[in-house]
Structure formats: structure tokens, C-alpha cells
Subunit: 322 residues, 2 copies
């Protein structure tokens, strides 16, 4: 299967009207009146962000899930995306078909469409990049900037499952883990759930928000920097799944193990601040979203992580690319 | 220089207000009422689209020029862009600074700004990708679809300079070339001029348009396919620069040499059809743009290339990635 066949057979059926049948080299989009656009881009590389020989559908899903998570944190509704594929020599049509299946599953689940992009050949590893376009009611995007001293700090879902899933992906041994726990962690790593159902709640109540990709502590630092405030995280309050709690209880060095969960990244949960904690709790209940209060916004700068007994320091608060 | 320093020191100064200081993981854009958005994406890889060790500023310029050319062909005005950088090990701060300089030169020349993107590490070659967002008055985007039998076929500028520039970049010997000619070809290859000044003319008169990246004949084929028409190209009418005309006159096999110019690609001139050839010629004169009528749109399908004496067949009408 060559470039033009791959585009015509696998990708063109995924195109929305904005994609002009992928016969053009541009997409055309008319934003609805009274809406702002939110744009986000993420790139994933074989051997870095997903294992070599990863099934095409899983790669496509992860790429879109990660980008959708960015939109969710902004309170935005996904509209469409552009896709840049750099494919290594010996392009495999089977991979291409799987990749398109994964894209379709995501489009069907979250209601958006392919608008265009670029396909090229690379002497390097498979590299996939997506630019997602979402929209919010005018003036309602939730940024990283906006947290104020006195705000409460919340997080959706549970933290640390994906870093254990990464251990499994890298074939590291995990002690004291049931088969069910392993499935749970793998799923968290490969199929992070973009918290799009939280977007209304975030628009109504959050003063600042971001999705956790680098690690809870590191991303709390991003919020601190963008908003010009201090962030306090009560590490004992950070929500863990049952599987992860059991794992943690079995670790000799609890502090080191918990640190790893808080800095491991890939959670794709949403960390947000709010001046209306009661509103958040009520809205989350209505929407069926798990939220947990894990700290507060203070004067000052940087992240303070503390347990009931001491203050923690993180040498390496999260993932850095270089 | 690490990832966050590179973003803060080199890229953040290039961000428009839509980029939120590059402190967020998304961009925020409010389209002006009465405008449609045009989105385009292009990816370039070291060793494929530009030579290894290429100066950062040149790489940045080519990346943006190529994307701006897509917008020009649609009749769109550039607004902003997202940038995905996959940087190899041993990231070189000097390269990063040069790259930012090239971005700035393009932003200053064409009046648009950086909105965001993604930076990551790759075990493979340097890979840079940009998503450009432009706008047109509502309903005025010029697509690839829309050419009708009877329309005239035009091209801006001259064809074939860039493929000779590529020869120079690849250190192939070019016979019968002056120093000035070599400079001209190199410049055409490294610094294609996005034909943004043609956008008003295209919106007013073109029935279909696209920029020539794969090669004149191949891209004429894309227009043919998208519009469901035949395209006839009179090869003797295709405009050549003085340097390229002199080179062609010195070649033993004129037909093979001319074929190469027509299929070499990287011209980034605009190929377009129009029902108003007189309007095009008058508008081009006013705007100071070179346009040449090189053929016509017919019933049927595919591209017919003919000289005064015969019909030409192209086994390989243009560049294919795989």
C-alpha cells in the first residue's frame, strides 16, 4: 500500500466535511458564532512514547486520547484534528489499517473528525503527531493561569496507575500484583480516559486546570508558575485506585514508592484549582465524575508536598524530555 | 539548554497572545466574524527534506515557507501556527537559537505568530512539523475542487529552479551553470517564496488552485482528480527562469531535461484554473505577480502534457514519499 492508497482507503473515510475528502492540502472550518477555538498538539515517537511494534490501533488511540485530554482540561469540546504521520521504510499496510481503526474508535466515542494533515517517509522511528481543534463558549476556556491564593486544589480520578502500567509495558517485574491489577494498570497506561465529561464543571468552577502528563508534582509546578502562586499538595490525600493502594501497602519504602506515583506521569487526569469547592463536589456528583481535594493554592511560588508527618522534597518532580 | 529553557528563552518571545505565553498546553483563538479558517500541516525530516547539519534558521524558514505556500494557494491570510519539534539526543542550543531566528524572520515578513505546540526527544532524525492556521472571508477559500472544462490553466512564477537547487544541495554536478545561476537555484530550493501576494487574485478569479510541491505534472494530476476534470499542460509554455532556460539549452536530451523540471517538485508556485483569464492577467499586472497561461481544463480525467510536436507520457509524474 503506497502513500496515496493509504490516504484514500484508510484515512479519507474518516474525514469530516472540513477535510474536503483529503483531496486538498488544507482543511476548511467555520467556527460557530460565540465560540472560541482551543488548539493543542502532541507528538508520539515509537520507542519513546509507545513500544516498538505496537499495534496501530493502540498507537492511534493513545495519540488522540492524550490530545483529547488537553482539550478536556481546557473545558473544550473536540471538533477535529490534523494528523502528521512520519512512516519508516517498509510501510506496513496492516499497521495502517489498524491505525485507522483506532482513529475511528476515538472519533466515534468522542464525536469529532479528521480534517487533514501530512504523510511522509522517515529514516527514523515511526512518529505520529496530531493537532486537535476544540471549541468553548467565548471567554470560557480554562487556562493554567488563574489560580488564586485560597483556592482549593482538586484532581479527577486516581493517580499513579499509568506509571505502573509503564513498568509492565517495559516488562519490569511488579511484586504483589494480581492479574486484575496488571490489567488495570496496563489499561491506564495504554488507554488513558480523556476527562471530557468534566469540561462543563471545569468551565463553571475551575480557576485554572491542566491535565497531568509529566507527573502530578511536576504539573502542579506548571500551574504554580503560570498562575504565579504557591501550590500545596497533601500527599496522603492523593486518590489511588484499589490496585495501586494494595501495591503501595506491600512496598518496603512507602515514601519512595508513593513519590514514584506522584511523579511518574501519564495519568491524564485533570488537576484544577477552584474558589468553589462545594460547587465542584456537587457538579462532580451530578456528572458521575470522581474528584478529590488534595491541597490548596497559597501565596508564594513553587510546590510544597507534605504528608501528615513531614514536608517532602522532590529532586525530580516529573518527566523531562531532555 | 534543556526543554523548558529552550521554550522559555527561544520560543516564548515569538508567541502571540493566542499562545498564552507558551505556559499553557493549548492555544486560544477567536476567529473574526465573517471569516473561515484554513488549516494546513507539513512535516520535514532531517536527511529527507533538508540536509543533515542544516542551519537551524534555514530549517525554520523552509518549514514555514512550505506551509505558508499552502495557505497562499487557498487564498488565505496566515494568522498563527503550532510547532512540533522532535529533537535528537545532544540537543544543540545553538541550533535552537538559529531555529528561533528563522521563525522570527518569517513571522516578521508575513505577519503571524506562534501559538503553541509540542517539544519532544527522538532517537531518530530531527523532525519538525508545523500546523498553520489562516483565514479567508467566509465562503472564499479556493480549493482543489472547482475547475471546469473550458477553464484556462495558469501558474505563478517559474518552474524547475528548485529541482536544480536540490541537485546542488545533494552536491551533484550541474553542467553549464554560472555562479549566479547556482545562487538562484539554491535560493529557490532553500527559500521558496510563498505566493501570498496572489491570494486576493486567487479568491477573485481562481476556480481551483494548489501549490506545486510534488511536481507540476503530479500536482496537475491532484487538481484533475479533485475536480473530476482533465488537465492539459502545454509544456513549451511552462515558464522557466533565465538561468534554467540557459541550462536547458545546454542539455543534450532536451525532452528528458525538461521532463525533470516539470516533475521535480519543491517549486511552491501556484497552479490554478480560471474562467476569467483576462481578469487574472489584469489582476496579476496590478499586483506585480508573474503569471503564465500553460494549458486548459477539459472534459475527462488525468493530465495530458503536450509539446508543439507530440504528446508526452510521464512514468513518474512527481515525488512520492513511499
Amino acid at each position: 500500500m503506497g502513500e496515496f492508497d493509504f490516504i484514500a482507503d484508510c484515512l479519507a473515510p474518516l474525514a469530516g466535511p472540513q477535510g474536503l475528502g483529503l483531496l486538498d492540502d488544507a482543511a476548511l472550518y467555520t467556527a460557530a458564532p460565540g465560540r472560541d477555538l482551543v488548539l493543542t498538539q502532541d507528538t508520539m515517537i515509537e520507542g519513546v512514547h509507545f513500544p516498538k511494534g505496537h499495534w496501530g490501533a493502540d498507537t492511534a488511540e493513545k495519540l488522540l486520547r492524550v490530545n483529547l485530554s488537553d482539550l478536556a482540561a481546557k473545558g473544550a469540546t473536540p471538533q477535529g484534528y490534523l494528523l502528521s504521520l512520519s512512516l519508516p521504510d517498509g510501510f506496513d499496510g496492516k499497521w495502517g489499517k489498524g491505525f485507522a481503526l483506532g482513529l475511528k474508535a476515538m472519533q466515534d466515542e468522542f464525536g469529532f473528525s479528521l480534517w487533514g494533515g501530512d504523510t511522509t517517509k522517515t529514516p527514523g522511528p515511526l512518529t505520529v503527531s496530531a493537532t486537535l481543534i476544540g471549541s468553548v463558549p467565548s471567554g470560557k476556556m480554562v487556562g493554567r493561569k488563574g489560580a488564586s491564593p485560597g483556592d482549593a486544589l482538586f484532581v479527577t480520578g486516581t493517580i499513579g496507575d499509568a506509571v505502573l502500567g509503564l513498568d509492565i509495558a517495559l516488562e519490569r517485574k511488579i511484586d504483589a500484583a494480581s492479574g486484575e491489577a496488571i490489567w488495570h494498570w496496563e489499561n491506564a497506561y495504554y488507554r488513558p480516559q480523556p476527562q471530557l465529561s468534566a469540561r462543563r464543571m471545569l468551565r463553571d468552577y475551575a480557576s485554572a486546570a491542566l491535565d497531568i502528563s509529566d507527573g502530578l508534582i511536576s504539573d502542579a509546578g506548571h500551574l504554580s508558575k503560570a498562575s504565579g502562586v504557591g501550590v500545596t499538595v497533601n500527599v496522603d490525600d492523593v486518590p489511588l485506585s484499589t490496585a495501586t493502594r494494595l501495591w503501595l501497602a506491600a512496598q518496603k519504602d512507602r515514601k519512595a514508592a508513593l513519590s514514584r506515583l506522584l511523579t511518574g506521569g501519564d495519568d491524564y487526569e485533570i488537576l484544577f484549582s477552584t474558589a468553589y469547592p462545594q460547587g465542584v463536589i456537587a457538579a462532580a456528583k451530578t456528572l458521575g465524575i470522581e474528584v478529590t481535594r488534595i491541597g490548596e493554592i497559597t501565596e508564594g511560588q513553587g510546590v510544597t508536598a507534605r504528608s501528615r508527618s513531614d514536608v517532602w522534597n522532590f529532586d525530580r518532580p516529573g518527566y523531562r524530555h531532555f
